[in-house]
Symmetry: C2
Subunit: 303 residues, 2 copies
Amino acid sequence: MNGQGRPAGAPARDVVVVGLGSMGYGMATSLLRAGHRVHGVDVSADRVANFRAEGGVDAIDSPDTLVIVVLNAAQTEAVLWGEDGWAGRLAAGAVVIGCSTVAPVFARDMAARCDAAGLHYLDAPISGGAQRAADGTLSVMASGTPAAFDASEPILDAIAETVFRLGDEAGAGSAMKAINQMLAGTHIAAMAEAITFGMTQGVDPARTVEVISQCAGTSWMFENRAPHVVDGDYAARSSINIWPKDLGIVLDIARDARFAAPLTAAALQQFLAAAGSGLGDQDDAAVAKVYARNAGLRLRGDS
Amino acid sequence: MNGQGRPAGAPARDVVVVGLGSMGYGMATSLLRAGHRVHGVDVSADRVANFRAEGGVDAIDSPDTLVIVVLNAAQTEAVLWGEDGWAGRLAAGAVVIGCSTVAPVFARDMAARCDAAGLHYLDAPISGGAQRAADGTLSVMASGTPAAFDASEPILDAIAETVFRLGDEAGAGSAMKAINQMLAGTHIAAMAEAITFGMTQGVDPARTVEVISQCAGTSWMFENRAPHVVDGDYAARSSINIWPKDLGIVLDIARDARFAAPLTAAALQQFLAAAGSGLGDQDDAAVAKVYARNAGLRLRGDS
């Protein structure tokens, strides 16, 4: 479907979306566009009001679907099981779609607790950024029971272009998301390291991007983020603040597994230095500024 | 030309290739195929004999071209300026094409000394691996004077598919090569880190490769090397031993520039651990074995 609407005859769903941030807001509007009834919940009254203005309903009794797009595991748990949590307000047999980046063991725990409460749980972390969320063309790394997948299908149709079906147990989706974030974050820091290293040797960032994009040293993140450094454009498509969170989750999982991840750990330190020096709300390519500052270099756009 | 032969009317060149390793041997045969007279030099008498059997000439008086494809800067310097060095045996106005991975400052020094000796120097590190060397389809990151480029053109035509022209001063080619190696080595280690991390979460390496190749976490090296881990196939296309050398050169350059490169440094440690534990001659994807051993995991092909 890819946000193109419901198939003829498919019933509209009663959906609550919790978390109307850069990802959740776009997903909620994609669900509206597909013809579902959607109630949006957020700590920001402004976002809730904006979403109502776009067609969100004021309230839904006994929703059949709960989509959780919050910051982390603790918020996910609070949404479901906290005081006045949604687990107790869903229709019998409803499906909970957990889209936040969490540890696989947490996803398995959520699935078990939902199962005990007569609910389905789909472990469904998302990837693709705010624009693709708004377009209904996200990638979803999903795992869960066949019943959870069946119940989620019209929702996934509305929000995703690609759904990776990673098995019939919650946790596999979150594991793959962690693998992807580990690589993505490491590659962004490596991009910044390489471009600024090149500057110390007199190589202009634009030339580095031009050549390396055609060489074995390239990566998806290099090609996507390096142009931001070249242009000195740090308007956040995806912010620095994502990475202390996501690489922190990755390294928590790794530590629990007694897995040594030295590159990921080094990348996290660079993002922490970026966040700590006031760059948290800038585009994640701004990690290049940490390298530049440490090497006495001036990037484009530096004052 | 891409190894397809000389253009009609272009004169055959008298070329000495020093270093008949996995790259130099293929380059020398590509030069033969293009119709040039080629004399091959190596510390291995077997390789020299093999190259003669393929059409290499026994000796060349006053060669007009010297292609240096040795291990490092020290060997490059010895080839040119050591006892009985080639700088004193080349024709007046000959061109020296330096293909080894070296520091930009070393390349500039070679160019200055060649200029003083009436020779041209092209700073021309290569990329692409043994198969593309044999096919005459390497990538060359080249810089040097217009005269050095002119003199090198038929040679580059024979060995390369892509020539990046990086300026009219030696050093820029070596700088770009260092940037590429920094990223390539870091991405190989990151690939190994991510695949084995996934295994701790129950994710099969084949599934990781299938999914991540379509996600933002992918890289050229991930897609090229990760299948070796999936297959347990460590026959060396490019060996572990390349990386302590190349990342060592990169970090020497970085240190001289007072540039902190924490991800590259972490990657080097993993390749050192691989080489130190006896994996030096295996494919560089075998760095995954360091991660697996440290985490108590068994990769495909492990005994």
